[in-house]
Point group: C2
Chain length 276, copies 2
């Protein structure tokens, strides 16, 4: 069995419980790969350097980071240098032989660059150029499997390598989906809430299991904001061959194990809308 | 044949020639591993964050970075996040399937922490605590060989993982020596001069070949400042099993090939002082 664990980069997500849990899973013979974000660390580093983080809104209302060249350097520093190294160190201290990777290593995450983005500024649609972002179309599964076969736990994060040879930003949730699809495993996406709620303000409305296209439609309606990105990533993971996606809380006791064993929101391949 | 290339982190060292050269060597079937420094990038990042880099002098006159906890975070950012990612990106753009590693990854560089250092301040000897530095005693050769066997080019740099579980600074020259010793290869240490000169100010006094203990004694006398560190690293590499060490210019045409084929200062195992 292979489990891909997505650890969020938000300040409210504490990775400690997940790190201990990975050791227990490894001991049982489960292959584990980790994918992480780190947007908070990027913003912190930008602030330390006196650079204002810039977020733009697309015409469809999605808010994302605008990553110019200077910001991209800070992104690499915070994401690959600080967050990744600290996670790998934490895993090593749990006795887990982790190896950190960015998407540039072995072209782990590769795909087209999106240099120009449509944005809405002051109510007007504009084209902004110079963005450092891209979409993952290829994952180097050979590199991950080589490391897993040798007993290592890969810990991967953006940046990705774009087709113009530049390291660029890419969404970490979708990166984790691409890894789960490539490895055909279960994606456990850890976040700061217990899963997807029908009513975002009411944790008693947790959607536990999404097995049919009807339940999937309900899930999509319920998922707002960053949960919308998680559902999009879940869809990509399942379309690509992941066996299951679970959205669950990082702050639970044994967060990965409890997610695999039924906690959180489980989304199954049978939930994907059928093509006509 | 295995070549370990040390690429310096000084501002005067341009890695471009070396990157192109690595591709040619790989095409000929030579395994190449890269180890790099990045002290200039660390100082630049510290400056951007408004932190003054701190250098201390030991009683024996060696000047080195004092790395407190805050500086250590910036070190990880600049070294593993920026310099490593940029080198791996540069190699990928030469068609070389590079994979970046810090010494924490797979415990690539592991050994004792040196938390307290003896320093001289205002002419007085003191003990300073809180330094994040250590000495490499173990190199994970399995991880390097797994990657090399699969066609990847490992690109490694400090930090190392200290025995107290903390990622700490370590000398990149000595890290490259440890890798060359572990792999039993040739260490090509690229720098901003053509090798070790008998007279540091006169490039016509290049020491070309060091084969005997007498020539080694002459080399040690000639090596001053940072060259002293390179000679110490060369000694460690050869003592550990490296086949040859070459100190040569990074800025030459085909810098690695010309070093392997006779350029620069060649130091051979027969030069090591014999134990009585």
């Amino acid at each position: 069995m292979t489990v891909v664990v997505k650890i969020g980069g938000a300040r409210a997500v504490d990775p400690e419980g997940a790190l201990a849990d990975i050791g227990a899973l490894k001991d049982e013979g489960t292959d584990v790969a980790v994918v992480h974000g780190g947007s908070t660390a990027v913003d912190d580093a930008l602030e330390q350097m006196g650079i204002e983080p810039e977020y733009v809104e697309t015409p469809s209302g999605v808010v994302g980071r605008f990553t110019d060249e200077e910001t991209m350097d800070v992104f690499k520093m915070a994401m690959s240098g600080l967050v990744n190294t600290d996670l790998v160190t934490g895993l090593q201290n749990q006795g887990i032989d982790a190896v950190g990777l960015s998407g540039v290593d072995g072209k782990l995450f590769y795909g087209p660059r999106k240099e120009a983005v449509r944005v809405v500024e002051d109510g007007k649609k504009k084209i902004r150029r110079g963005d450092h972002s891209g979409s993952i179309k290829e994952v180097n599964g050979d590199l991950l499997e080589t490391l897993l076969d040798d007993g290592y736990t890969p810990v991967a994060s953006p940046p990705m390598l774009a087709d113009d040879g530049v390291a660029v930003n890419t969404d970490a949730d979708r990166a984790s989906a691409a890894v789960a699809a490539e490895l055909g495993g279960t994606l456990v996406s850890l976040t700061d809430v217990a899963g997807v709620y029908r009513d975002p303000d009411d944790s008693s409305t947790l959607i536990e299991r999404v097995e049919t296209p009807e339940e999937y439609a309900e899930l999509k309606d319920a998922a707002e904001g960053f949960m919308g990105r998680k559902v999009m990533a879940a869809t990509e993971a399942l379309e690509g061959g992941a066996s299951e996606v679970v959205v669950a809380s990082a702050n639970a006791d044994q967060p990965i194990r409890s997610a695999v064993e039924g906690g959180g929101t489980h989304i199954l391949p049978s939930a994907l809308p059928k093509d006509d």
